[in-house]
C-alpha cells in the first residue's frame, strides 16, 4: 500500500477541516505578500544582505531566536525529550543562555564595530583569506544541509498529520521560501521570522497547557512517566524528569553522558560556537540599528529562549506520559528507521520526531489544528529561510566577492543574491532527500555542528581576545579542528568501540558523542592555533585595530537609565536561568 495512504488511513485523529485549510492558505499568502511588499526595499547590497542595518533590538532579538526555531527546535527536540527526558532541556538552558549573554556583552562590540557582513568576513579581517575560505566554504556547506533538514522535517509533518506526499511538501515549502527570500532578501526573512515567532507560540502553547491539565500538573506528569517507564522496564525511569541529579555518571541517565560533557562539551563549546559564531543567527543581530540594540537583541532572544522548553520539551515529556493508541494502550514511539521500515509501517509505529504532531492531534480540533500545523510550517520555513539567506550572504561576500571576483559591483551582488537564493534552495532539496536516510534528525544536526562550529569558536575567540594569534595559526588551527572532528566521527563509524576513547564511555549515546567530539575538536583547534602562532609572524597592531580586544576602541553607548541597560537585563536573565536549574535539578 502507498505510504501516504497507509498513514492517512491509520490517522483517524487528524482530518483537516475547511477552516484549517483556510488558516494554512492565509499564512502562505501573507508570507508571499510580505515578500512582494518588501521587494522594493532591497535595492542595494546593504539592504538585501543586511536589511539596511536598521532593525530595532526587539525585531533583531526575535529574529535572532526565530531563525533557530526551525525543525531543530520544534520536532527534533520534542522527539529528543521523548527519547532522553528532560535532559534535552540542557540544549535550551546551559546550551544557550550563557553563550547568548556572552555574545551580547563580550563579542557583539567587535562584530559591530568592524562592520563585517558575516562571521567569515570577520575572520578575513582578523586572520586573512585562509581562515575565511575554510570558514565560508564549511559554513555554506552546513547551511544548505540545515535548510534541507528543515525541509525534510516539514515534509514529515505533512505526511504524519495530513498524509501529504513528501515530494509535494518539499516542493511547496521550497518554492515559497525561494520566492520570499529572493524578493526581499534578509529584510523579508527577518519580517517572516518575527511573524513566525508569534505563530509558533500561538499554535504550540496550547499543547503544554492542556497537557499539564490532563496529567495533573508537573507532579502528576512525573508520576505518570515513572509509572509508564517502569512498566516498560526502561532503565533509570526516574532520570527522565531530572536535569542535573543523574549526571554523576554516564550510565545513570538515558543519554549516557556526564556533567562534564554537558558543561564543557555543550555549554562551553557547542553552545558558544553556535550562538556566537554561527552566522545564521549572528547575521540577525548584525542588522541592528546601533550597538545598544545589537547588545540587547541577544539578551531579548535569551529571555524567550528560556521559555521555549515549555512548548518543545514539555510536549515530549507529555507524550511519554499520555500518548495512547486508538485501542487505549500506551503508545511507545521508536527510532525513525524502525518506524519507517515496512514492518514498522504495517504495525502503525511512529518515530520519536513525530511526538509533537501526535500531541497536536490529541488536543487540537478544527481551527486550532490548522493553527498548530501553520506554526510547525512557520518554524520549518523560518529555519529554511534563515539558512538560505545566510548561505546567500556568505557565498556572495565571502566566496564570490573575495575568492573569485573581488571587483564585483554592488548591483551585481544583489542580482547574484537573488539567484543564489534559488540555487541554495535547489541544493537544499537534494539535502532533504539525503536526510531521509538518517536515524534521527537531531543527531545528524549535532554531528554537523561538531564538525564545523566547535573549531570555529576556538578560532574566533582566540582571534578576538589574543592579539598574538597569527594568520597562519588561525587557518591551520581551524583546519586541524575541523579535520579532527570529521576524523573522530569516521573512526567511531568504522569501529564502534572507539566510543570509549572519543566519548570516554561505551554508554555514550549519539548526543553524548557529539558533545565530546566538539570539545576535543575545539581544544585541538586552540592548541594548534597557539603553537603555530608562536612559530609564525603575527599581524602588526595597526592591522588589528577594531578586531582584537585591547586594540579596539569600543564606542560608548548613549547614556541610558539602568532599566534600559543591556547589563541589567543580562543579570536578570542569568538569575532566572540559575533558578530554573535549581527547580528542575
Amino acid at each position: 500500500m502507498n505510504l501516504a495512504l497507509l498513514l492517512l488511513s491509520s490517522s483517524t485523529l487528524v482530518h483537516l477541516s475547511a477552516v484549517d485549510l483556510a488558516i494554512i492558505v492565509f499564512y502562505f499568502a501573507l508570507v508571499l505578500g510580505i515578500g512582494l511588499y518588501l521587494k522594493g526595499q532591497a535595492n542595494t547590497g546593504e539592504d538585501f544582505f543586511m536589511a539596511g542595518r536598521e532593525m530595532t533590538a526587539w525585531v533583531a532579538g526575535l529574529a535572532f531566536l526565530s531563525a533557530n526555531l526551525g525543525s531543530l527546535e520544534l520536532m527534533g527536540w520534542a522527539g529528543n525529550s521523548y527519547k532522553y527526558g528532560i535532559l534535552a532541556a540542557h540544549w535550551y538552558w546551559i546550551g544557550a543562555i550563557p553563550s547568548m549573554l556572552f555574545l551580547a556583552l563580550v563579542m557583539m562590540p567587535f562584530y559591530y564595530v568592524c562592520k563585517t557582513h558575516s562571521v567569515p568576513g570577520y575572520l578575513k579581517l582578523r586572520f586573512g583569506k585562509g581562515a575565511q575560505a575554510i570558514s565560508s566554504i564549511s559554513f555554506a556547506f552546513m547551511t544548505v544541509l540545515m535548510s534541507g533538514i528543515n525541509m525534510y522535517a516539514m515534509a514529515v509533518v505533512m505526511r504524519v498529520v495530513l498524509g501529504w506526499d513528501l515530494n509535494f511538501s518539499i516542493l511547496v515549502s521550497s518554492l515559497t521560501v525561494a520566492a520570499y527570500v529572493a524578493l526581499g532578501g534578509l529584510r523579508s526573512a527577518i519580517f517572516n521570522e518575527v511573524l513566525q515567532f508569534f505563530l509558533i507560540w500561538a499554535g504550540a502553547l496550547l499543547i503544554p497547557i492542556l497537557g499539564l491539565i490532563e496529567a495533573g500538573g508537573w507532579t502528576g506528569l512525573q508520576a505518570k512517566i515513572l509509572q509508564n517507564l517502569t512498566e516498560q522496564h526502561v532503565a533509570n525511569p526516574g532520570s527522565y524528569t531530572h536535569l542535573w541529579s543523574t549526571l554523576g555518571s554516564f550510565g545513570s541517565n538515558p543519554m549516557g553522558i556526564n556533567w562534564a560533557g554537558i558543561v564543557f562539551g555543550l555549554g562551553a563549546v557547542i553552545a558558544m560556537g553556535y550562538w556566537t559564531t554561527d552566522f545564521l543567527v549572528v547575521q540577525r543581530v548584525l542588522s541592528a540599528k546601533d550597538l545598544r540594540s545589537a547588545e540587547l537583541a541577544p539578551i531579548i532572544g535569551a529571555a524567550f529562549k528560556m521559555c521555549v522548553p515549555f512548548i518543545v520539551i514539555l510536549p515530549g515529556l507529555l507524550g511519554l506520559a499520555l500518548l495512547r493508541d486508538p485501542q487505549g494502550h500506551l503508545l511507545r514511539l521508536v527510532p525513525a528507521d524502525q518506524a519507517w521500515s515496512a514492518a514498522g509501517q504495517a504495525q502503525g509505529l511512529h518515530g520519536y520526531d513525530e511526538v509533537l504532531p501526535l500531541m497536536l492531534a490529541r488536543y487540537c480540533g478544527p481551527g486550532l489544528l490548522g493553527l498548530g500545523i501553520t506554526a510547525l510550517i512557520a518554524g520549518f520555513m523560518s529555519g529554511m529561510a534563515g539558512n538560505v539567506s545566510a548561505f546567500t550572504t556568505v557565498w556572495t561576500y565571502d566566496i564570490y566577492a573575495t575568492l573569485i571576483n573581488p571587483k564585483v559591483t554592488d548591483d551585481f551582488k544583489v542580482k547574484m543574491g537573488r539567484w543564489v537564493t534559488v540555487i541554495g534552495v535547489i541544493i537544499s532539496i537534494g539535502t532533504a532527500y539525503l536526510v531521509m536516510q538518517a536515524q534521527s534528525i537531531m543527531d545528524y544536526v549535532q554531528a554537523l555542528f561538531s564538525f564545523f562550529i566547535a573549531p570555529l569558536f576556538g578560532t574566533v575567540i582566540l582571534g578576538m581576545l589574543w592579539k598574538r594569534a597569527s594568520p597562519a595559526g588561525g587557518w591551520t588551527g581551524l583546519l586541524a579542528g575541523t579535520l579532527s572532528s570529521v576524523g573522530m566521527y569516521t573512526w567511531v563509524k568504522i569501529d564502534p568501540n572507539a566510543v570509549r576513547y572519543v566519548a570516554l564511555s561505551m554508554d555514550a549515546q549519539d548526543q553524548a558523542q557529539n558533545m565530546f567530539r566538539a570539545l576535543w575538536s575545539c581544544l585541538i583547534c586552540m592548541i594548534v592555533t597557539i603553537v603555530v602562532s608562536y612559530m609564525t609572524k603575527p599581524k602588526p597592531d595597526s592591522e588589528l585595530k577594531d578586531v582584537v580586544y585591547g586594540l579596539t576602541p569600543i564606542p560608548k553607548t548613549e547614556h541610558v537609565s539602568w532599566f534600559h541597560s543591556p547589563i541589567f537585563w543580562a543579570v536578570v536573565v542569568a538569575a532566572i536561568f540559575v533558578i530554573l536549574q535549581i527547580i528542575f535539578w
Binding site: 485523529l13 510580505i34 518575527v194 496550547l206 490532563e214 480540533g365 478544527p366 493553527l371 501553520t374
Partner: protein, 79 residues
C-alpha cells in the same frame, strides 16, 4: 522595524493573529452548537473559544496600535 512610509512588522503580526483568532473563535462557537462526533482530548474545555478569542484581541491591539494611520501620526509628532 518601523518607518513612516513603510508598514510595520507589528502591523503584519496583528493582522495574522487577528484573522487566525477570528476563524478559530467562530469555529469554537460553531462546535458548541454542533458538537463533533470525534472529540479531541479535553474537548469540554472548549480551548478554541477562549484561545481564539485571546488571539483575536491580541491581533486587534497590534493591528490598531501599528496601523499605517497611527504610524503616520507618530512620524508627524516626532518630526
Amino acid at each position: 522595524m518601523k518607518s513612516g512610509s513603510h508598514l510595520s512588522i507589528w502591523f503584519f503580526t496583528g493582522i495574522c493573529l487577528g484573522v487566525n483568532g477570528l476563524l478559530i473563535f467562530i469555529t469554537g462557537i460553531y462546535e458548541i452548537a454542533n458538537p463533533p462526533a470525534n472529540k479531541v482530548a479535553l474537548y469540554d474545555l472548549h480551548a478554541n473559544v477562549w484561545w481564539g478569542g485571546f488571539l483575536l484581541v491580541l491581533g486587534l491591539v497590534y493591528s490598531l496600535r501599528f496601523s499605517p494611520a497611527q504610524e503616520r501620526k507618530r512620524m508627524s509628532k516626532s518630526s
